[in-house]
Symmetry: C2
Subunit: 366 residues, 2 copies
């Protein structure tokens, strides 16, 4: 198994990408191919003693954070992100990781890998911390306007991911809404609640509210990409606000500052629980291949975790499991879902909201 990593994507590329790749290759023993400007990558690699463990594949172009995703991948055929996908397509790598332009990563994955039969819209699958573990949230920003069918497919994909990769048996699936009763929420959530309840094989526990996510009320939280992205950004903003408020108050008092100094290790540990870098990348589920999208601000640690997530997805055959599950459930019903997309028929979606900032993994790029 090898993981192709877009060395040119992200705010701290290539240095932090290279660092993460070296860490994953040495500490986790995951074979990595760094894709991008060979000279720049090798310059970074030279900083590490074990650098020879990482393969390098040259790509002459780079897709910028603000470039139009579909256009960029059509025109820049030798860009690091396209070449990384090509490596997967050719079987030279089994998964790709990118912290670059999220829309471009999604577009290239859908275009090159195609969608899994039965999936109309691939979804970004984010991991969030809870009081007692982790929760899978999808869609975290790939599809802003969704149908009941889309959300049902997200539930199936989330279940497989939680079961296969996170090793949670019979994961509890919740539908994000306001109010726990099935009749609470908007038109979409009410219709989806009814549909999920009547779908066999899903451990559907009903609606979950925003405050329940972090309490660990569900293992998988299903929602449209607008709300999923909203959850990520609001929670990021609130965490920042709480920590900043604490800091401000503590700085106002000498004795509190002394106290904070004593509690420093604990404060640091608590903070790291909130650090996106610990949760690595977000796989794009629903495509016929593994593409892990990492935060635009990814540091080495985030990239290492994204590479780990990609490796786990490969080892546990997430794509195969989703595909089998859909067939078993006889859910491969959709006419407009094809196993291989031969043209960029999801162009509208990608064009509309594909650029960096509409995705959770790029929430701080501006």
């Amino acid at each position: 198994m090898k993981i192709a990593v877009d060395a040119m994507g992200g705010d701290y590329a290539p240095s932090q990408i290279v660092e993460g790749a070296v860490e994953a290759a040495t500490k986790d023993r995951i074979p990595v191919i760094l894709v991008g400007d060979e000279k720049a990558i090798k310059q970074e690699l030279a900083k590490y003693p074990a650098s020879s463990i990482v393969e390098v594949r040259h790509a002459s172009e780079t897709v910028g954070m603000d470039e139009h995703p579909a256009n960029a991948i059509r025109r820049k055929t030798d860009s690091s992100i396209v070449v990384a996908a090509n490596l997967v397509l050719a079987g030279e790598a089994q998964a790709m990781v990118s912290a670059g332009n999220t829309g471009a990563a999604m577009a290239v994955a859908i275009f090159k890998f195609g969608r899994i039969r039965g999936i109309d819209r691939p979804a970004i699958c984010a991991l969030l911390p809870t009081m007692n573990g982790k929760v899978v949230l999808l869609d975290a920003g790939a599809n802003v306007d969704c149908t009941v069918e889309n959300l049902l497919q997200f539930a199936v994909m989330g279940k497989e991911y939680a079961e296969r990769v996170l090793k949670l048996p019979n994961p509890r699936i919740g539908l994000l809404s306001i109010g726990e009763e099935p009749t609470k929420g908007n038109e979409l959530t009410k219709a989806t609640n009814a549909r999920l309840r009547s779908t066999p094989g899903l451990n559907f526990i009903g609606n979950v509210e925003g405050k329940d996510i972090f309490r660990g009320a569900a293992d998988v939280v299903v929602c449209d990409g607008f709300d999923g992205n909203m959850v990520l950004k609001v929670s990021e903003g609130m965490a920042e606000f709480v920590l900043a408020s604490l800091k401000k108050e503590i700085e106002n008092s000498l004795i509190s500052r002394l106290g904070a100094l004593l509690a420093w290790q604990s404060l640091k540990r608590a903070r790291s629980r909130l650090d996106y870098a610990e949760y690595g990348g977000a796989p794009l589920l629903g495509v016929n291949g593994i593409c892990v999208i990492s935060h635009g601000r990814s540091n080495g640690r985030a990239i290492q975790n994204a590479i780990r997530a990609a490796a786990k997805a490969v080892e546990n055959d997430v794509v195969g499991c989703i595909s089998t599950s859909l067939q078993e459930k006889d859910m491969a019903w959709s006419d407009n879902a094809s196993s291989k997309a031969t043209s960029l028929n999801k162009q509208d979606t990608i064009e509309t909201q594909g650029k960096g900032s509409s995705s959770p993994v790029s929430q701080n790029r501006e």
Copy 2:
């Protein structure tokens, strides 16, 4: 000026409601009429030396938290919430406050007071803390599915509230979306962005993201009630999670516990900035009268703040200002918005999501 307070609504009624009323009457010198079971109220009032300052009006019935809002107010004509509204209608009070069944409070306000001409859907207007002050968020849960027109009306109401009550000149109005560019978001936010940009007299600053709310990027954040309620609940959940994580880590180390003890006053102050009780009630804007809805878990402090919010809304003639602003903007266009609702024509809305838990001010009632 007098404020009619529903003494029977809320998880801690009547004791905490009475406490808040006494505080507002004595410390803030706001005349209060407590409405509800006379015997129960007087028993509570007896605990306070200055209790005679608060008027009591008997009401023989109570609307429960889980009762169907429209049915409850139709049948229980002598319930505390209906009697409180009647006092406003009769001019004996100038505003009402309730921490009870949110749907019932909304229903009674719309039914009894009617809507302001030009407003199709009244909205719950919540106040949230930011790094440098406060932000007005609306709709915080009254209307789950909204139109562009609805959001435009929310913007006008939010502007008036921020300007008149919070004394923010020319308040910055943001539209909640994912991504800052006008083209980012879902169908509703994209269409609303265009509409807000072309509406004169609004200081529209464009889309704001979830993480920007707490940074104070806007003074007024406009969104549909589903997303507004989501923001409140996710931020509540995240704040809880951050504080619980800190506590857990600190408890694991003796030296950290000592540190936390030293920093205790600062931690407490930071925590109070996050306390809903400090932000009091949320006025239901768009009705021809003042109705402030308070959190179901309201303690005395929250009720006192809700009474203050009601008094400020009266003093600053929020209803009149909204009405004038709509007329000046020639926005009183809507056929289905009438100044006095003679029948419960918003029954569907109220019936669908009116009960306690779909509202921000009742987020912890379950």
